[in-house]
């Protein structure tokens, strides 16, 4: 299946400013209920495993969870336990839905295989078309999505945090400098800071 066969556009309710959300539940094979907890423990224990994801610089938050039991609230709710385990995945990212899938599968090919291999009908991360279709089948659209700083991308937030540290240090130093020395130091500061502006 090529990309044209699945709609790559996220509905407006999944978007808040520069940030798009995906929420997905995928049905697990029988062994997923053992394998996914192992993946979670490994990912938490080896932060280095996240470096590739971190390097993408367009994912702000993501989480995974394995669901089998449903919180029970008494009648008229009947359900306490699902027949299958389901992998819950949610992500907040910058860019379009299709860009997210394409970039993720190309950079995180190994990680994608590891995290989704226990899902029924997982077609493999590449080519991206069938993987997009897999996502679409299991996705649930958001009804209301909120972001506290909607116009800032992950790159902008990280730049701002890095810049603030340098700016605060420079401002402290500038207050102690003689007037005649300020401009030279200001120029050097700008040279260093321009990559964050």
């Amino acid at each position: 299946m090529n990309r044209a066969e699945v709609s790559p556009d996220a509905p407006p309710s999944n978007v808040c400013g520069q940030t798009t959300s995906i929420t997905l539940f995928s049905t697990q094979r029988w062994w997923g209920r053992f394998f996914m907890p192992f993946m979670f423990v490994t990912s938490r224990a080896v932060p280095k495993a996240l470096e590739a994801m971190d390097s993408l610089s367009f994912i702000s938050f993501a989480s995974w969870s394995l669901i089998r039991d449903v919180p029970y609230n008494g009648p008229p709710q009947h359900l306490r336990r699902l027949r299958h385990s389901h992998l819950f995945f949610e992500v907040s990212f910058n860019g379009s839905w299709a860009q997210y899938i394409d970039s993720s599968v190309r950079v995180l090919t190994g990680g994608m295989k590891a995290f989704w291999s226990s899902s029924l009908t997982f077609p493999g991360p590449l080519p991206a078309g069938p993987f997009q279709a897999f996502f679409k089948t299991h996705e649930v659209d958001t009804s209301h999505y909120y972001c506290a700083y909607p116009e800032a991308t992950v790159t902008i937030v990280r730049s701002a945090l890095a810049l603030e540290e340098r700016l605060d240090m420079f401002a402290h130093r500038a207050g102690l400098l003689p007037e005649a020395a300020f401009d030279a130091v200001w120029g050097a500061f700008l040279e260093d800071a321009q990559r964050y502006l």
Partner: protein
């Protein structure tokens, strides 16, 4: 004697907590709830009143999405609420239950088991009972709070503006203006 360590929550990434709450919607209330949630976009999000919230979402699951040939039906529609926020869960739920009145009544008030009125300690306890733990949470800047992120973004915008404005200033003016703008930051 053995030393006992508290169990570390799996819902944290840095200081950012990943919350997930799944509640069953009362029979016949799905359409009203969907319409209410859809309408929140027009009024501005009530979640803005929770200043520790980075990102959050509500969604309705009419059923569990499963591939063709697989059956795993829910017993009705469910409401899912997720949030990435700063700090600890108990104080966040307390804050939510205090500050999202009357929206909480319109939202969780349509769910099975929700206290009436949907507010205060009873609502916080209800949401806590319906929490599902995350297996793994990722946060790109999990060490930074919403307050810190907003402060840094504001400072960056002010510096961008200052760089443009200060081009027309002489060195003495530039120093004075810089210290006035950022000197006590």
């Amino acid at each position: 004697m053995t030393t006992r360590f508290p169990k570390r929550t799996t819902n944290l990434a840095g200081q950012t907590y990943g919350l997930m709450v799944l509640t069953p919607i009362r029979p016949g209330h799905e359409d009203e709830l969907r319409a209410y949630l859809d309408g929140l976009h027009e009024q501005g999000s009530p979640l803005a009143r929770l200043p520790r919230t980075h990102m959050a979402r509500w969604l309705i699951m009419p059923d569990m999405p499963v591939p063709p040939g697989v059956q795993d039906p829910l017993d009705g529609p469910y409401l899912l609420f997720t949030s990435n926020f700063d700090g600890d869960l108990a104080s966040y739920l307390h804050e939510l239950a205090e500050r999202l009145v009357p929206e909480a009544q319109e939202i969780w008030g349509r769910c099975i088991g929700c206290p009436r009125p949907a507010e205060g300690a009873a609502l916080a306890a209800y949401l806590g009972r319906n929490q599902l733990d995350s297996g793994f949470v990722f946060a790109a800047y999990g060490a930074s709070t919403v307050h810190q992120v907003r402060g840094a973004l504001d400072k960056r915008a002010r510096l961008q503006d200052f760089v443009v404005r200060s081009q027309e200033m002489d060195p003495a003016q530039r120093r004075k203006a810089f210290l006035a703008e950022f000197g006590d930051s």
